[in-house]
């Protein structure tokens, strides 16, 4: 085959992990389970406690993101001498600060902008 030589060369250059059939299938099965659980819970009406339903759904999503990172994106601490992991951690920190900050600030803004300011009415003489 004409491309077999090229392939051989590339394999030495690209020290990137392609994963194995087993790791892809492990990731796929875990991802399916972690998708079916939240959809099943929500489509079945959810738990009595709304907070518990939200917590389970969010936890499943976080777990599935980790599964995708490990089994599909083949992330590990040694890829590209750790720069991949470092840039990812940096991104996660920025994302968490921005998401939490936006929601926090805007939630309080919304609360204070409510048309019926019952709090202030109570304070007023």
């Amino acid at each position: 085959m004409a491309h077999s030589h090229n392939h051989h060369d590339a394999h030495h250059d690209a020290h990137h992990d392609h994963g194995s059939f087993k790791s892809y299938m492990t990731g796929f099965v875990l991802a399916v389970i972690l998708t079916v659980i939240p959809f099943g819970i929500v489509m079945g009406g959810g738990f009595d406690s709304r907070a518990l339903t939200i917590a389970v759904v969010v936890l499943c999503a976080v777990a599935q993101v980790l599964v995708h990172m490990i089994y599909f994106l083949h992330m590990n601490s040694s890829a590209e001498e750790g720069w991949t992991l470092l840039s990812t951690l940096f991104t996660i920190v920025v994302v968490v600060i921005m998401l939490a900050g936006s929601l926090w600030v805007m939630f309080h803004l919304n609360t204070n902008m409510m048309p019926q300011m019952s709090h202030e009415l109570q304070v007023m003489p």
Partner: protein, 206 residues
């Protein structure tokens, strides 16, 4: 006199010749940094949605609009396309060109199914009068989900391009590198979709 002879050439202090890097050696890390910047962009859209999701302008809300069965099918399509792309990469690692192309074609099929279902959903919403101009919630919804769909669209175009390249030039090292980048891109989009179906659809309906 002796001080002059002791002066050293610049090459003694730093490297004057350019480094030799093998072609494409920094592509993986570079592409990863691009994906992280894309991740930040999606984070902004998620934050916007999070802030605006309650501003319905007396219009329909998530519970009135979203059809979870459709979303479940869509999620399955994207997850299937992720695993079939993985199989294509495994065939590529073995140097099996025909197998790679076959699995890439299956990936493309699932990707297009995802897009078709999403377009159907959008058309249905707009037909019901729940278009992006209806409320802040719907503007944020269409921006977030639409941006993801746009990414899948461009990923599909990229996929077709690479299939033609592989068909024409074989699994050269350059083509393998490109397929590797698209692999990261494709799995990354599936990862973003986890956030979309959780935050927008599931949490919206709870």
């Amino acid at each position: 006199m002796s001080t002059i002879t002791q002066l050293k050439a610049p090459a003694d202090y730093w490297e004057t010749e350019p480094h030799h890097h093998p072609e494409g050696a920094s592509t993986n890390i570079g592409f990863w940094v691009y994906l992280m910047s894309d991740c930040l962009m999606f984070a902004v859209l998620f934050a916007t949605y999070g802030v605006l999701h309650g501003n319905l302008a007396a219009g329909p809300g998530p519970k009135d609009l979203f059809d979870l069965e459709l979303v479940a099918i869509n999620t399955a399509m994207l997850l299937f396309s992720s695993i079939t792309y993985g199989f294509a990469m495994l065939r590529m690692a073995r140097g099996d060109q025909a197998g790679t192309l076959k699995w890439l074609a299956i990936t493309l099929f699932f990707g297009l199914c995802f897009l078709a279902i999403e377009l159907y959903e959008f058309a249905h919403l707009i037909h019901e009068g729940a278009g992006p101009q209806r409320s802040a919630f719907l503007s944020a919804f269409f921006t977030l989900v639409g941006t993801h769909g746009l990414h899948v669209t461009f990923g599909s175009i990229w996929l077709v391009t690479l299939m033609v390249q592989v068909k024409k030039f074989g699994l050269t090292s350059a083509n393998q590198r490109r397929l590797m980048c698209l692999s990261l891109f494709w799995h990354f989009l599936d990862l973003i979709w986890i956030g979309v179906f959780t935050v927008v659809y599931l949490l919206g309906v709870i």
